[in-house]
Amino acid sequence: MASVVLSEAEKVYIVHGIQEDLRVDGRGCEDYRCIEVETDVVSNTSGSARVKLGHTDILVGVKAEMGTPKLENPNEGYLEFFVDCSANATPEFEGRGGEELATEIVNTLYRIFSNESTIDVKSLCINPREHCWVLYVDVLLLECGGNLFDAISIAVKAALFNTRIPKVRVLEDEEGSKEIELSDDPFDCIRLNVDNVPCIITLSKIGCRHVVDATLQEEACSLASLLLSVTSRGTLTCMKKLGNGSLDPESIFEMMETGKRVGKTLHTSLQKILDKEESLGTTRQKVGFLG
């Protein structure tokens, strides 16, 4: 992962500030940086979203393609994740440098979405055992400014909210062979219900307190972090500990409570923004990348 080199004095400054609930940029321990979310930025995808969280910049594109259902779940479609760490984020990602980080992120995303209540995959099925929609979710890391997992989960949720899958009808003729017909109207499409899609909250332990949304400098001072996947109702669906240091069980319980609290607020704010963008419809001014 991209990292900064900090002197001992800088680390002490950050740690002492956090003891007093005051971070370097003036935030409290449970405050996020300013998050910018914009959907529908890439026009030839089924859905896309761009999230800017401080200096972290993530672009997610969702493409819906037709495929065959997996053998163990013949009545369901599925999601495939792919993460590309762009060399623009840090030169270490040139060539195959970003593969380790990308695999870690992909595995985390698969774990979160493996829960069947997250996305209604049954609605992605067209013909059981024969045809289904496969959603290819592609994450592109444009800039690393700390707290990658949170930004990626917000972007994935926004992109899935924005995804428009064309409506298809299955026509069966006398011989029993099935034909798939695409609707003529390009705006006739099915949308996904993302109410149960969780967001990842990463809590980093610095000194004896924990912080939400760590910057690169704060990540360099933290010994261990806890990655929580929280739904909009405050349910925890997945938990993972990162880092070399050790956490004692009491801090883990405290961090879980903070995570649930912060997660619920994050979900309400995100849903508000997504609904506002949706209500503006075609009149929305697109900022894109030149704003």
Binding site: N44, L59, V62, A87, E94, D138, L140
Partner: protein, 188 residues
């Protein structure tokens, strides 16, 4: 100098490029963002183009990295990369001989066309990609696909050059506006 120091050149800077396409950039999902043949070829073309333009003699034993990421592809990928990389190099303050402006051109129905889009490229006709140093009219890279009669070549290159000069006008204006804004903010 990152990676192997053995690649360092004793008298000039090494220009290191990477061309990468996002998997959702094309109509059909692309499985490998970079590392495949086409991306490697584009990388070499970018390297060749910028070695011609950057004053590498000023930075011996150093490396200049140019990373281009395509977010959405609709024809003229290489040309857009060159134009973007020119602006980025100017923004980085790296001295260059001149701007490098690029444009594609084609020849359909006896008409030269400048700046082909994806549909025109996919039609299979001849395509020329031209990277030009506008003030001195020097060609940094010229590439052609498919079949084109040599009588038409001059017209097509003419169309591409004109397009490059138009792009140069736009890029130059953008750079001048930006410098003006920055110096005004600095209060000079």
């Amino acid at each position: 100098m990152r990676g192997s120091r053995s690649k360092a050149l004793h008298d000039r800077a090494l220009v290191n490029c990477q061309y990468s396409m996002a998997t959702f950039s094309t109509g059909e999902r692309k499985r490998r963002p970079h590392g495949d043949r086409k991306s490697s070829e584009m990388t070499l073309h970018l390297k060749q183009t910028f070695e011609a333009a950057i004053l590498t003699q000023l930075y011996p034993r150093s490396q200049i990295d140019i990373y281009v990421q395509i977010l959405q592809a609709d024809g003229g990928n290489y040309c857009a990369c060159v134009n973007a990389a020119t602006l980025a190099t100017i923004d980085a303050g790296i001295p260059m001989r001149d701007y490098v402006c690029a444009s594609s051109a084609g020849f359909i129905e006896d008409t030269p066309l400048a700046d082909l889009n994806y549909v025109e490229e996919a039609a299979g006709g001849p395509q020329v990609a031209l990277a030009l140093l506008p003030k001195s009219d020097q060609i940094a890279l010229l590439e052609m696909n498919s079949r084109l009669h040599e009588d038409h070549l001059e017209q097509v290159i003419e169309a591409a050059s004109k397009a490059c000069k138009d792009v140069y006008a736009v890029l130059d204006q953008v750079v001048r506006d930006h410098v003006h804004e920055v110096t005004t903010l600095l209060g000079e």
